[in-house]
Structures are given as structure tokens and as C-alpha cells.
Symmetry: C2
Subunit: 294 residues, 2 copies
């Protein structure tokens, strides 16, 4: 028995609702606004954005379910030769205001074509501006636990795939401390159970970290570093992220795709952290070999 | 008799010097700093950056002359099949602080391969955040005059090429009010004279505009719009600009290539100017058909 795509779409939609509530609860000040949109060729989505003055500077929790003729530029080899596709997904990005609080990203997606390809992809990763080892450990431990609950889970492989994927070749840096990344998993029930379980774990993954960091005092110095690191985040998403490029090249909804971009960023030529500083420690971490966090 | 590449490199270097002096004179506060670098495979450059508290928020005037084995990813068809190349160029970007002052970009470049291809490329374009028709007219008129002084000059074709090139498909917007853009012009003496003449005209092209705008009063509203438009500038350079992508993909000097990025930028979801406002007027201009400015 195959996974029903409508069930996937519906349950991802429910996850969206719960995740938005959780972030609103933590923020305490601002609310998500919902932008529902339809796609002329088929389907549509609900882009939920929180942009406020509270602890969450910008968050996007986007759901969509789209279908229709396979776009010409659908470069993914699995879709080559198909004439129609269906895709549903949930993507989450949080840019907290406090420079000590890390940026969070997660994505769950399902894809099928009329040629019978049916697969899941997804992942979650953490991008700190300052290293708190306990945060990275909590994040990875929680992900490893989700994986271990499912026979199809493979934390070591997906941890490595995440380190490999979120890499900026032009900077010789990884984007952050990673997490998990998987793609093209056959759309069986056990895989869907794992994907959904990951979805329900996203708030456990990130909210405790946010709670610990959003109250820390900071100065202009930390903000400068945060905005510098956010520019790197923008570089990754605009230059290297396959999902972003695919979306833009196939005529996806630009504002939804680029909702992941940081609310503020700065490009200062030749910006280098002070040797031995916490900023330097973070940079060295991103430039060194990936670490184990378990 | 062919154009001597060393002469091209030397004279572009001299132009760099003069252009930096001119911008320093206008700014009155800050100085360019020079970062000289060498390229392991051959050649190097001088990246000059001004980042200060005066009217020029960030400017880069970059010169380079590089050579060596043709990089694998040299996608330009003119270099396909060559085993070595030589390239020298000068690129200029100015991000003024005042939101009423437009961003300026120009580039002059020479390229040759061991297979005998030898060509020039270049151009100049203007990116206002607010439309002042007299600025756009001055800019285009000056460019048309440079072109008209040279039998090889073709303002109408290069104006159109510029409108076509500086276009953001994912936004349905041009980057600014254009200018001229040309590429793959055979490296004859008449072409080199035109390119060099354009180089000497760059300050006439832009400084009068800057002088008129840097003293205008502005508020937070204009800054918000400026930072929004600068994010579009970053999107163009990181997603679509062939030179940027080529440089990053072939292992160019990242800090020099990305010196063009705005000092500050903001991504606000769903940001739309007030209907009928000056911001709306500018956006409509960028989304409409290219205009004639002569």
C-alpha cells in the first residue's frame, strides 16, 4: 500500500499550524500572518510569516502542495522524462533577534511524477553565530533519537549529507553546525512515519535552545557579527541552495521562496574576527572538519 | 597591429588610481585602502575599498590581471578548447549612503586565449532608489556621447543589451535604469580606444549625479526603501550576474568578487511601496518596458 499524497499534504499542513503556534508562544509579541496563494498550473500554498519586534525577528513557516506539467527546467534527474508532477512540502526558517540565538531551518517534502517516482526528502540544520556546544549537542542528539526510533533512520549518513550540503565553496565554510539532510527516500509508510516524526520533533529540537539564548545580553559587537554571518546565509541560499535555485528557475512564488532570507544583513569587505575571540572560534569551527556532536 | 595586453593592463591600472582619487575627493572623509593579492596560477590584482562614515558608504574599485591554464569551468564559449588565458579588468561599484543617490557600477575588461581569441567587454549602469529623470538622462547622454565619438560605438545596441542583462527574472524587474553593456568586441585599436575613452568618462558619468544627491535630506522611510532595493541588488549579483558566478565557480578571489555587495540590505517579506508614492514610481519603472533616456 502506498502513501496517500493527500494525507501527506494534510498532515504537513497540520504541522505548520502547530509550529506557528509554538513560535508565537515563545515570541509572546508578534503573530504569523498567512498569505494563501494559488498556482495557475495547479495547487498553491500558505506562506506564514512572522516579522516583529519580539525575540523572533523573522520567521517563515511555508506549506505548499503544487502539481501540473513537469517544468522544463526540472533538472532533478528523478523527474527527467516525466510529464506531470506533484509536490508538497513544509519549510521553516527562524532568524532570532538575539545574536546568541542560532538560526534554524527545516524542510520536509514529498514528490511524485506520473512515471511512478515517489519520494521523500527533508532535514533540519542549525546555524549559530556563537558556539554553545550544549546547543549543538542537544540539536544533534534529538535528531539522532528521531532517527533511532525508525528502522529507515540513518543519522550518521544524514548528518554527513547535511555537512556536505550546507557548504559554501567560495568561502571554504559550512553554513552552521549541521543536522540531518536526506533526499530521494522511497515513499514507503516507514519512511513517511519517520518524516512525520521528525516534523513533530522540530519544536523539541529548537525551542529549548531559543529559550536559553533569547534573554542573553548583547552589544553592538555581537549584532555586527550576526549581520556578517547572516550575509553568508544569504550567499548560501542565493548561490548554492538547490531548492532556492530550482524554485526561482521554474517560476515558483518568489516571495515564498526568498522568505528564508535574513531580515537584515551586512557585507563589510575584509571583515575578520579578532583572533581568539568567540567570533573567531565560530569561524574556525565552520572552516574546520565537521565535528561529531553526540 | 594588435593591442598590447600589457598596455591595456597598465592603462586600466592608471584609470583605477584616478577614479579612486575622484571618489575620495567627493567623499571628503574616507580613503580607499588597497589590498594587493597574487593568484597562485598566475597574475593578481589590487582591490581598493572605501568603507566609511561619509557620503560614500561603500565603494570598490578593483583592478586585476590574471593568467594561466584555462579553468575547467570557463563556460564562455569563446574560451572553450583553449588551454591558457589572460584577462585584465577594472570594475567599479559605489553604494552611496544617501538613499536619493543612485548606486553605480562599471566594468572594463580584456580577455585573450592561446587559441587567438582577443576581445573587450564592458559597460556602465545606474541603479537609483528614487527616480530623478535628469540623472538618468545625464547618464545615458554621456554614454551616447562616448559611443558617438568612436566608429565602433553602438549606443542603441549596447543600451538594449544593458537593459536585457541587468534583469531579475524572478522579480520581473530590471536592476536599474541601465546604461550600456557590450561583450566580445574584437580587440582592435579602435575598440580599445573606445573602451579607454569610456574609462576616462566614468567620473563625468557619475560624479555630477552624486554631487546633486548626497546633500538631500532623508528620513528612515527612504533608508528602509534603499535597504529593500539593495537586497534586490544582492539578489541580482548572487543569482544572475555571470561575472560573479564565473568568478566564484572558477576559484576567483571571493572577497574581491563580492566587494560589489551592498554594505547593508534588508529582506522584508511582502514589502510593497505605498501606491502613488515615489517608491512605487521607481518600482513601476523597473517593472515596465525600458525607457529611452536621450
Amino acid at each position: 500500500m502506498t502513501v496517500a499524497r493527500d494525507e501527506v499534504a494534510d498532515r504537513l499542513r497540520n504541522l505548520q499550524e502547530g509550529i506557528c503556534r509554538s513560535f508565537e508562544g515563545l515570541d509572546g509579541v508578534s503573530r504569523f500572518r498567512s498569505d494563501r496563494w494559488t498556482r495557475p498550473e495547479g495547487g498553491g500554498g500558505d506562506t506564514r510569516i512572522l516579522q516583529g519586534d519580539g525575540p523572533v525577528e523573522k520567521a517563515a513557516v511555508n506549506w505548499s502542495a503544487v502539481w501540473g506539467p513537469t517544468p522544463d527546467r526540472l533538472s532533478d534527474s528523478l523527474a527527467a522524462g516525466s510529464s506531470s508532477f506533484y509536490a508538497t512540502g513544509l519549510s521553516i526558517i527562524v532568524h532570532p533577534r538575539n545574536p546568541y540565538a542560532p538560526t534554524f531551518h527545516a524542510n520536509l517534502r514529498y514528490f511524485e511524477t506520473d512515471r511512478g517516482e515517489r519520494w521523500f526528502g527533508g532535514g533540519a540544520d542549525l546555524t549559530p553565530h556563537y558556539l554553545f556546544e550544549e546547543d549543538a549537542r542537544h540539536f544533534h542528539r534529538t535528531l539522532a533519537e528521531v532517527c533511532s526510533r525508525h528502522p529507515v533512520g540513518d543519522y550518521p549518513a544524514w548528518k554527513k549529507a547535511c555537512d556536505d550540503y550546507f557548504y559554501l565553496p567560495h568561502r571554504g565554510e559550512r553554513r552552521g553546525v549541521g543536522g540531518v539532510f536526506f533526499d530521494h527516500l522511497p515513499a514507503t509508510h516507514p519512511v513517511w512515519e519517520m518524516v512525520y516524526d521528525l516534523g513533530t520533533a522540530l519544536t523539541d529540537l529548537y525551542l529549548p535552545i531559543l529559550h536559553r539564548r533569547i534573554g542573553l545580553d548583547y552589544t553592538e559587537r555581537e549584532v555586527r557579527w550576526q549581520l556578517h554571518r547572516r550575509a553568508r546565509y544569504a550567499e548560501f541560499n542565493l548561490i548554492w541552495d538547490r531548492g532556492t535555485r530550482f524554485g526561482l528557475e521554474t517560476g515558483g512564488r518568489t516571495e515564498s521562496i526568498l522568505a528564508s532570507l535574513p531580515p537584515r544583513a551586512t557585507w563589510v569587505y575584509g571583515f575578520e574576527p579578532e583572533p581568539g575571540s568567540p567570533e573567531d572560534e565560530l569561524q574556525a569551527l565552520l572552516r574546520g572538519e565537521p565535528r561529531s556532536w553526540l
